[in-house]
Symmetry: C2
Subunit: 234 residues, 2 copies
């Protein structure tokens, strides 16, 4: 049985072929909507968007929001990339080769497939790739600190920011989730989440307050510590 | 033996882990460079970019530039999406489920793995998905017609444009290739290619003249007819 809801779809019906992702609540703005496009064009911080979007990927397993997000950030950072099954010798991180002997020691892949990753485990996975990871649980941070640090990280070419939040808190289906942030718009005070569950939701612009509240939720898989955010750099 | 160069890497050495894609020639501008970002922000046609970038993918097989491009365009078009291996019942096209009994009748997947797709076959593959595909060989078109039709298609929410070109003609490694276009910048007269060989090259802005010249090259796998472009709509 799956103990952890992280990244998991919990729809109670068998869906036929559909043309759309799930409906978005009023508070979220899809990147590919007219308003969402305008927010990116007029955003005040977006350098990470370009580095991440060219490596934007879909999680290949229901519990792999963390490994999918890791592959994007590792490709976006200027670190040596291992050869992938599909690259004929050229380097690219994917959702297989992000797992290494060092990450197995943090949490074995087989266990991640059953239970996903907590915020602290995600930080340790990046450290197992010899990167510096700063974990900030929302309960020990503030919306002001998050806004400042995340915006700075988006502007800083050497740093990336990932968020671990409860989807239902922002009106999405449904459990805990992990994805990287790409951009910030100051006028609307919204961050762009590059949601790795691409079949389920498009990237969305979310209000900073709403995102922080969704991070400031207890994670039963992490001793009820709150979710939060993670800054990664070399 | 692989008869067709389409999409294939032909590097004569075993590469170690590397941090970068291959070097770009002077004539191309990477989307994630400072100049490339500014071109997107200031582009005159880019609505397709947003629909395609949220489905941007990496080809999973050396000969799958065509199927990878198809999966992006099919997801971007408002057509019913089949369930994928990874979507738990929600719809998304990938590089497995783009192959159907109807596409097998066009060209079997096993043969595409050996020989890729020609421009005409790519059009027929889209038609096998009940879409309207307009194939334009460069030798029967002109740079002016291509610029007009491709720009219109980028602006038209119901239509997408793919290009089939010879990489070496624009200074890249090396053979025939297929990818969708995302945007057009009028001042520099450049189109943005969302190159599906993401481990090899970033998305690039290419001059219209240079791209047309790279399409106006004979394809030995297609009776030496020239490469060209393809407009797809419902
Ligand atoms: Ca703004
Ligand atoms: Ca950054
Ligand atoms: Ca312009
Ligand atoms: Ca279009």
């Amino acid at each position: 049985m799956l103990r952890k809801l992280s990244c998991l779809l919990l729809l109670g019906f068998a869906a036929p072929a559909i043309a759309e992702t799930l409906p978005l609540p009023d508070g979220l703005i899809a990147l590919n909507s007219v308003d969402g496009q305008a927010l990116l064009i007029g955003s005040e911080a977006r350098s990470d968007y370009f580095e991440l979007s060219i490596h934007f990927t879909n999680q290949v397993h229901p519990a792999f929001c963390g490994p999918a997000s890791m592959s994007m950030v590792l490709n976006a950072l200027n670190v040596p990339r291992p050869a992938s099954n599909m690259t004929l010798g050229l380097g690219m991180f994917d959702q297989d080769n992000v797992f290494t002997p060092a990450t197995e020691a943090v949490k074995p892949r087989a266990l991640i497939e059953r239970a996903g990753l907590t915020l602290d485990e995600l930080g340790a996975m990046f450290e197992a790739h010899s990167l510096k990871a700063t974990v900030r649980h929302a309960e020990e941070s503030s919306v002001e600190e998050f806004r400042t640090l995340a915006r700075e990280s988006i502007d800083d070419a050497e740093s990336f920011v990932l968020v671990n939040y409860l989807r239902s808190s922002i009106g999405q289906e449904r459990g805990g989730h992990i994805s990287p942030l790409g951009a910030y718009d100051a006028e609307t005070d919204r961050f762009l989440i590059l949601d790795v569950t691409r079949y389920k939701y498009p990237p969305v612009w979310v209000r900073t307050d709403d995102l922080f509240q969704a991070m400031n939720t207890p994670d039963s898989d992490n001793d009820n510590r709150s979710r939060g955010y993670l800054l990664v750099r070399q």
